[in-house]
């Protein structure tokens, strides 16, 4: 599926590879997780209340609609978390934090 966001400039940055639900996603250094996920796909998560996919809303840390999780159960706000190499993200909540 085509991404929601598309890049208009600053495309010359270094590539960063992360894992999203087990698949590799290519992002650029300086991307937020939200941008990394939405240039590659069209949603960040599904609403817990069964009304479909969500992809964030305010992009400034106010609405909390862009939560994703790491495979170890840490909750991240995708709009204000920069990508880092080898990040492993899941878009559905891990039931309980697991400490490695």
């Amino acid at each position: 599926m085509a991404g929601l966001f598309h890049r208009l400039a600053e495309a010359g940055r270094r590539t960063v590879r992360i894992s999203v639900d087990g698949s590799e996603v290519e992002a650029l250094e300086g991307d937020t997780l939200l941008v990394a996920l939405l240039t590659a796909g069209a949603a960040l998560r599904r609403s817990e209340f069964g009304d479909g996919p969500r992809a964030g809303f305010c992009l400034m840390g106010a609405c909390q609609d862009c939560w994703v999780w790491t495979e170890t159960g840490e909750r991240l706000r995708a709009c204000s978390t920069p990508v880092a190499p080898a990040m492993r993200i899941v878009t559905q909540e891990v039931p309980w934090p697991k400490h490695p």
Binding site: L4, A42, C58, A62, Q64
Partner: protein, 454 residues
């Protein structure tokens, strides 16, 4: 024990100028900022390694943005700067903060809240679809990440930001399918005398509109939003326009109806609020210099009232002057008089914006029952209306306990003002009679694993 410091919350235009004035008086304030970089949302900075010049990011405001960033960077060594730190409660003369997994309790001699604003949104069916963003969010995508929210964007709502963001998008090479303004053109004409209080700002706004029009981008006034369509993502925006339904194909929508002040920390500090009938919101009751009803608590910038970035810089400095005076430090009378004088046209201009681009309160009454109001917990207009008609909720806090509206993870930031309109319309009473959602700590969710530090 050392004397408690002055704490400033927010490193945007108001907070930076407040901190600067405190430092000039010989103080070493604490500056708490939730983001990683200073500048606030209006002068939002792009990450390290991005190369666009300030002129491309901030347009006509580039000089002001650069001046503010330069001032902020120069302050860092002279204060206790805490970026990446959330201020989540005010309690017993102390500010509670969280950074990473550390929680701290910071007592203050004075607290200057410069918490800024977010978009004010009236829900419309379909607004939870991927591809719908607040206008401010659409702007952040462009400024901070060099991205457009879609390939073909519609901007819907009202206010000067509607045209500014459309212009920024078109200028950056995105396709703007339409700009759909709910305010009728005659309201904007009637507001011109007040808007003329800031002639340069008015002229700049008119230039954006003229530029969009020359580009052939459809600009419509007096529309009524009906729905955003799409299956798993946006495919079109449908509005009523001149009595007819009009459909605009698009894969993204920026939506916003002016701004709302971020007042939750002030609420937790127990300052008095007053209902402002023009903007239809409850705002902290302040004196001309930014003093609240609680000694030692001051507010400045868009977090106090929506007057924009230029006013925020002045108001931040003025609030610092007020705090200094109250702490017994000398402040020249002429400085205070000059700041008050400079802020007056900005207050007139604010009223021009609120009357020329009015919040479409009347839409709340006619939203279909299935319209989602609370995005956090998928609470609909119908759920809210039932809390009034069946539950007998007389005001919003009761409606909150019946329906959970405003109880979700955004704590009513996004839905609170619209929810109040829905409740007032369902009861058939003036908005001020349904009260306001009261803040609760933490104002934003905290991580699950925290270490408390004394």
């Amino acid at each position: 024990m050392a004397e408690a410091p002055v704490i400033v919350v927010g490193a945007g235009p108001a907070g930076i100028r407040a901190a600067e004035r405190l430092i000039a008086a010989g103080l070493r304030p604490i500056l708490v900022e939730e983001g990683e970089r200073n500048g606030g949302q209006i002068y939002r900075r792009q990450p390290e390694g991005f190369t666009r010049p300030a002129s491309a990011l901030y347009g006509s405001e580039a000089a002001k943005a650069t001046a503010l960033h330069t001032a902020a960077d120069a302050l860092v060594a002279r204060l206790d700067y805490r970026p990446g730190t959330l201020a989540w409660a005010v309690e017993g003369g102390a500010l509670l903060t969280q950074c990473g997994d550390r929680v701290r309790r910071l007592p203050y001699a004075a607290l200057i809240l410069c918490a800024g604003a977010t978009d004010r949104v009236m829900p419309v069916p379909g607004w939870t679809l991927p591809g719908v963003y607040s206008l401010g969010g659409a702007q952040v995508a462009l400024k901070a990440q060099a991205c457009a929210i879609g390939r073909r964007c519609v901007f819907l709502g009202t206010g000067p930001l509607l045209y500014l963001v459309a212009w920024q998008y078109a200028k950056a090479g995105a396709e703007v399918a339409a700009v759909l303004d709910t305010s009728p053109a005659h309201r904007r004409l009637a507001a011109l005398p007040r808007l003329a209080a800031r002639p340069a700002v008015l002229a700049q706004g008119m230039r954006y509109i003229a530029w969009l029009r020359r580009r052939g981008i459809p600009l419509r006034s007096g529309v009524r939003p009906l729905r955003i369509e799409g299956e798993d993502r946006v495919s079109a925006v449908v509005v009523e326009q001149g009595g007819r339904e009009q459909r605009y194909a698009a894969d993204a929508v920026g939506i916003g109806y002016g701004l709302r002040s971020e007042t939750q920390l002030a609420d937790l500090a127990k300052v008095n609020f007053a209902f402002d009938p023009v903007s239809r919101q409850w705002l902290p009751a302040l004196d001309e210099d930014g003093r609240s009803s609680v000694p030692g608590i001051y507010l400045a910038g868009d977090g106090a009232m929506i007057r924009g970035a230029d006013a925020a810089e002045l108001a931040g400095r003025l609030a610092a002057c007020a705090a200094l005076r109250d702490l017994g430090q000398p402040v020249p009378e002429s400085e205070i008089a000059e700041l008050r004088r400079a802020l007056r046209p900005m207050s007139r201009f604010r009223r021009g914006l609120e009357t020329g681009f009015p919040w479409p309160a009347q839409q709340a009454a006619v939203l279909p029952d299935e319209t989602v109001i609370c995005r956090c917990e998928t609470i609909t207009a119908g759920d809210l209306r039932r809390s009034v008609t069946e539950g007998g909720a007389p005001e919003v806090n009761r409606a909150k306990s019946f329906s959970r509206v405003g109880m979700g993870r955004c704590q009513g930031r996004i839905c609170g003002l619209a929810a109040a309109e829905v409740v007032a319309a369902a009861r058939g009473v003036p908005l001020e009679e349904v009260g306001r959602l009261r803040g609760a700590a933490p104002v934003k969710p905290l991580p699950l694993t925290l270490e408390i530090e004394a």
